[in-house]
Every structure is written in C-alpha cells, then in structure tokens.
C-alpha cells in the first residue's frame, strides 16, 4: 500500500472517529448573566443535579437560552455560553436581558 493510500485510510479513520457536528440546531436567544457570578455546569444529572463545573460566569457574560425549547430542570436551565461557544447548565434566575445584544 502506498504512503498516500495509507494516509488516506488513516485520515478516513480520524474523520469517522471525530465527534458529530456540535452546532446548535435550535438557535438560542441572546441573553446575559445577570447574577454577580453564576456556576456553569457541563451536564444536569436527573438523579444528582448539576454535574461537572466548567467555569464561573461573571455578571454581563453573553449567554443564550431558548425559553420553552431548552429544558429547565429544577431551576437549572440548559444555556449556551457565547464565550467558548459551548452548552451547559446554570440557574434560570441568572438569565436575563433577552435580546439585549
């Protein structure tokens, strides 16, 4: 097998192992964190609550939420952080200033 073919096979393997497209199909509305600071968690475990602290958002950080479409569990809302562009959970009462930017 030539080096080119070997490289192509390897590349195919990498492509197939890559994660699926992580884009947001339901585009969240623009909002901001209106708490002085808000914990941002990786997941919400229905058995134990928010799980895996990612970072702490500061007041005014740009976030996104789609009321009615994205779930809110026990006051924890699925939220998009427009900083690193990733999803997580934060307190619903810390989400405000919808469509302000």
């Amino acid at each position: 097998m030539s080096a080119k073919v070997a490289a192509a096979v390897t590349a195919l393997g990498i492509v197939l192992a890559a994660p699926p497209a992580a884009q947001a199909y339901v585009v969240p509305r623009h909002a901001v964190n209106i708490c002085q600071s808000a914990s941002f968690y990786d997941n919400y475990d229905s058995a134990s609550g928010p799980y895996g602290l990612k970072r702490v958002l500061e007041y005014g950080n740009k976030i996104g939420h789609t009321p009615g479409a994205h779930p809110v569990y026990n006051g924890w809302a699925a939220t998009f952080d427009f900083g690193p562009n990733d999803w997580g959970y934060m307190r619903l009462e810390c989400i405000g200033g919808y469509d302000s930017w």
Partner: protein
C-alpha cells in the same frame, strides 16, 4: 526478462503490500462507528454526543466516549430515541451512528 528470482521478489512485495493493507484496515476498523440496535445498551464511540429533546431539537446533555445509551427507538431523521446514562440520566434523542 522475468527470471525466477525477480518473480519471487515481486510476489514477496505483493504479499507484504497485502498484509500491510489488511493490517491498516484492521487498525482503522475500531473507528468505524455503527448505528444503534434497539434493545441494546450501546457504548458511545464519538468524542462527544449531544442528547436532544427531539430530533434536531434543543440540547439537554452531552454523552462522552465510553458512556452508554440504552437504545429504545424509534428512529427519526437520523436520530434515535433512548435513555442516556453517564451524567445525563434522562431519555432523549441522539444522532445515530456513533456507537461502538
């Protein structure tokens, strides 16, 4: 002119090339993720797999490689319904085709 020795050399090259191709395919095959089987608790092969409220719906959690998903069905638009274990622990929809 083809001599017996050059023919055997060529044969040896073909054998080596074939063996290399088979070895490479064998190495790359674990990366080939498959569709989920209904009724089976599948393991996620993707680095991360979004769990959604519905096909193409809102994000509600993320499964990572090695975590599991109990496939319940039905299928719809390239997505499949089931129970996401890991640190999601809820029913939801994931993109099909990312299971080991």
């Amino acid at each position: 002119m083809v001599t017996p020795s050059s023919r055997s050399t060529r044969l040896a090259r073909v054998v080596v090339a074939t063996a290399t191709a088979v070895a490479l395919l064998a190495v790359s095959s674990p990366a080939l993720a498959a569709n989920g089987t209904i009724g089976v608790r599948e393991t996620v092969c993707a680095e991360s797999l979004f769990v959604r409220t519905e096909p193409l719906g809102a994000w509600m959690g993320t499964l990572y490689a090695g975590q599991t998903f109990q496939v319940k069905g039905p299928r719809s638009g390239g997505y499949i319904y089931g129970f996401a274990y890991g640190h999601v622990n809820r029913n939801g929809w994931v993109q099909d085709g990312w299971f080991c």
